[in-house]
């Protein structure tokens, strides 16, 4: 049983697991998917890429930002059967750039991709390689959303 106590203006409630077993009756306001103020994920409602997504870390803003944007945009809008197959040139350019900044983009092969939130983008090996090289000085993102959203080839 929950116990309630008052200490002046402060109320203290102790609850057991059973107390909280029943579903909550608290009502939350429904989310508006088109709310312009809300922080967005990687893909905006319009279908464009949100370069300012915190999930990208410093990828779009660093010295190789432009190359990264080119490559990833190409991939994102690619309609080929093998998605991104026409984007090899951009990815090569991006890799070259990243190799010039090993401090920022350490070449680790065992890192899990952390940027893709959308399940529809199938990540090519190059993308996962590129994304996993996103600066480790940024903490790698949580593994929880990864299990939800990331897709690895």
């Amino acid at each position: 049983m929950s116990s309630i106590r008052e200490e002046g203006k402060d109320q203290i409630i102790f609850v057991t697991k059973e107390d909280h077993a029943t579903p909550s009756s608290a009502e939350l306001v429904e989310e508006d998917p088109n709310d312009p103020y809300e922080e967005r994920g990687l893909i905006l409602p319009s279908g464009e890429i949100n370069w300012n997504c915190p999930c990208l870390g410093g990828m779009a803003s660093g010295p190789c930002g432009t190359d990264f944007k080119d490559a990833f945009s190409c991939f994102h809008y690619s309609k080929e059967e093998v998605k991104g197959s026409e984007c090899l040139e951009q990815f090569r350019a991006m890799q070259e750039c990243m190799q010039r900044y090993p401090e920022l983009y350490p070449q680790e092969d065992d890192k899990v991709s952390e940027t893709d939130k959308t399940s529809q983008d199938s990540a090519s090996a190059e993308i996962s390689g590129a994304n996993s090289t996103s600066p480790t000085v940024q903490d790698s993102n949580t593994t929880q959303p990864n299990t939800e959203g990331s897709v690895e080839s």
Binding site: K9, Q11, T22, P23, E27, P36, S61, P135
Partner: protein
């Protein structure tokens, strides 16, 4: 211009009179026949003579006298101005030598009074402006009446000033010699943007003064002295080599908010060129580890590397990015894809909002298109310590920067006793960190504050007391309800006298008594400072004035949900910096994503909080018992992040209900506030939430605050958090 008009007004009646007479004569002459001259009552001015032949002579005399008078007047003015100009230049040149050796601020301060003292128009401006422009050919037009001031058209950056009015066009000065004309009134304070870098600095203010116009063109040929100006010419000085004279995005301050804005700008504006100006010698870094993780490091060289191991074992540096991320300021202009450049060790001392430029402490000027002020703050000090004399202040640390961390680390290795004054976030965290260290050494750690318990202004009393017990268990001697009366230095030890009579002897003091937001630029920029919260007053979009945004600790902003506030937390700096960056690139979004904060007090007590968390508000706390799984350590291990703020900001769009996992059965312990949720209410609406030893539920808390609903039973709301589970 006014002068010109006045002169003309004086001459006009005479001119009209003489022209009338002239016309009359002509008419008479042109009517040789006996045609009766139409005695049209032509406007006879009182001064107009009506006589006969003698009037010709009179007419000539009058006009001649008028012209002569005008000519003499003009000559006098020009001569006088030249003299004043010369004096001014001399003063400036002598001042520029002084400025090299002493405080740069004093010349600036002495300048406005000097300006006011000299004449109504701010003379220095046109002169210093005129001086650099001799590089452009300027045909001198020493005509008093032509207030000719063609603007510098070669300027791409925004001269949003109303550059000089109509009379401009009369002037025939082809390659715009930039002449600045001042308003007579004293906004000479914002205006003293002395042009030290000719090309990009746009026209400051425009106000037609015939004298100014006349003197600059005329002054140039006789006095082409570009070197007289403090920083002369195009690129002859070392200062202008290093610093770009114009940047599209200027970020003042090199902390968390600034870095977040830089990243946001670069993400949204492809190829953006961002210049960060900071007075610290370091690249942008994060502050929370300075009072937490860095102290727990086993690495003896931690003060050099500034790397720390997170709970999950991963190491990282406190710097957001290594140096290779940034480009050199010199290369900013030419960088094809833009970049972020950091100018360290330079302080912005003045801001010219109308001219869209700032002045640094070495007299360099940088103009911008968009500017962010993220100057953060300076730690407050106790008055009793400030007045106590140098011996005491030398043994006192005000903790905020990397240098403070380094010096405190060194000090604590060599002393026996340290006292932390202040019971808030910083004080408590430092006390716990040092308390941990005291286990290895025999360092005595004392913490004293006026409240009844740690975090007394944040946590409700029962929780504050509980926290204080935990802090004591970390090895800290806590002295509550302590008001410092005086501090003296005796035999190389500090003696702190409290108002209730207690005496505390210690070797070193750390004062963690709050932060004073840095609003130094408010005066020169004409920015509003908030009287309730301090800091620059900005709107919900973080904008202070056109092209100026403020973010981070220094911003007192309007939160649509919670009202006007100023927040001094890391995540707020990230969120507001990012938002400011978005708005600088045209987003126009208000502050909406509520920032959070967190604190760890040792390995057992950790909490995350969001919204307004003020202990004076009524609270409702819902608690369960904590198991070994509910500690900050466990939380970060599970989520794989080192810093919970990272897990927050790098995390998006997760479902609001936490995943449930089977939890072990637990007991009820009445007074053990192991884990739970505390709601802070204002008018029955939840405005703040603390997640006490409950982690990764922040999105739910954020949603509840965003809704702003009145909930009848907060226990029901607490169910949403699944506090019994991991």
């Amino acid at each position: 211009m006014l002068k010109c008009r006045n002169v003309w007004k004086k001459l006009a009646p005479l001119a009209r009179a003489s022209s009338t007479v002239c016309r009359q004569n002509v008419r008479r002459a042109g009517l040789p026949n006996g045609r009766i001259p139409a005695r049209v009552p032509v406007a006879h001015m009182s001064t107009g003579p009506t006589g006969g032949g003698g009037e010709n002579h009179l007419y000539v005399l009058l006009v001649g006298a008028a012209c002569l008078g005008g000519g003499i007047y003009a000559y006098q003015t020009i001569k006088g101005d030249q003299q004043r100009y010369q004096d001014r230049i001399n003063e400036i040149s002598s001042r520029s030598q002084k400025a090299a050796t002493e405080e740069p601020t004093t010349p600036i301060q002495s300048e406005p009074p000097a300006v006011k003292a000299s004449k109504t128009e701010a003379v220095p401006e046109p002169e210093t402006q005129a001086a650099p422009s001799p590089e452009e050919p300027s045909p001198p037009v020493p005509d008093v009446e032509l207030a000719a001031a063609p603007s510098e058209t070669a300027e791409p950056p925004p001269a949003d000033e109303p550059v000089v009015e109509a009379p401009q066009e009369e002037a025939a000065e082809p390659p715009a010699a930039r002449v600045v004309e001042e308003e007579p009134s004293p906004p000479s304070e914002p205006s003293p943007a002395e042009l030290t870098e000719p090309p990009p600095a746009p026209v400051v203010e425009s106000e037609p003064t015939a004298a100014a116009a006349a003197e600059s063109p005329s002054a140039e040929p006789p006095e082409p002295q570009p070197e007289v100006v403090a920083v002369s010419g195009v690129d002859s000085t070392p200062a202008s080599l290093k610093v770009p004279s114009h940047t599209p995005y200027l970020l003042i301050g090199g902390g968390t908010a600034s870095f977040a804005a830089a990243r946001s700008i670069r993400a949204r504006d492809p190829g953006a060129k961002v210049l960060i100006v900071t007075d610290e010698p370091d690249l942008p870094y994060m502050r929370p580890p300075l009072s937490k993780e860095l102290w727990f490091s086993d690495d003896p060289s931690v003060t050099e590397t500034l790397r720390f191991k997170q709970w999950n074992g991963k190491e990282r540096s406190i710097y957001f990015q290594p140096a290779s991320f940034y480009i050199n300021p010199e290369e900013l202009d030419s960088a094809e894809n833009g970049g972020v450049a950091v100018l360290t060790g330079k302080k912005v001392v003045q801001m010219d909002v109308r001219g869209n430029k700032v002045k640094l402490d070495d007299e360099t000027e940088i103009s911008y298109d968009k500017c962010l002020i993220a100057t953060g703050g300076v730690p407050r000090n106790l008055q009793v310590i400030e007045r106590a004399g140098e011996e005491v202040t030398q043994k006192t640390t005000l903790f905020r920067k990397i240098d403070d961390f380094k010096s405190l680390d060194k000090v604590t290795r060599n002393i026996k006793s340290i006292t932390i004054i202040g019971g808030g976030f910083l004080g408590s965290e430092l006390a716990c960190a040092l308390g941990r260290r005291s286990h290895e050494s025999d360092l005595e750690v004392i913490q004293m504050y006026p409240e009844k318990g740690n975090m007394g202004k944040v946590l409700p009393e029962y929780l504050s007391n509980w926290t204080t017990e935990k802090v004591k268990r970390e090895g800290v001697k806590v002295i509550t309800e302590a008001l410092v009366k005086s501090v003296t230095c005796k035999d190389d030890k500090l003696e702190i006298q409290l108002k209730d009579g207690r005496l505390v002897k210690t070797d070193h003091i750390v004062a963690a008594v709050g932060l004073e937001p840095n609003v130094d630029l408010a005066k020169s920029a004409g920015l509003e400072v908030d009287s309730d919260f301090g800091g620059y007053r900005v709107n919900a979009e973080l904008q202070a004035r056109s092209n100026i945004w403020v973010a981070g600790d220094a911003a007192c902003f309007y939160d649509i949900r919670l009202g006007r506030r100023r927040v001094e937390h890391h995540d707020h700096a990230v969120v507001s910096g990012r938002l400011a960056g978005e708005n600088m690139t045209g987003a126009n979004k208000p502050y909406w994503h509520q920032s959070m904060f967190w604190s760890d007090l040792g390995p057992d007590v950790g909490y995350e909080a969001i919204g307004i968390v003020d202990s004076s508000l009524p609270t409702v706390g819902v608690f369960a018992k904590a198991t070994a799984k509910d500690t900050p350590k466990a939380a970060t291990e599970q989520s794989g992040t080192g810093i919970r703020s990272e897990s927050e900001t790098e995390d998006t769009a997760t479902s609001p209900v936490a995943s449930s996992t089977p939890a072990p059965a637990m007991e009820q312990h009445k007074d053990d506030y192991g884990k739970g949720v505390i709601f802070y209410l204002r008018d029955k609406v939840v405005v703040g939430i603390i997640l006490w030893n409950v982690f990764n539920r922040m999105p739910i808390a954020r949603k509840i605050i965003k809704d702003g609903e009145e909930h009848a039973d907060l226990n029901e709301v607490a169910k949403l958090f699944n506090i019994h589970e991991d």
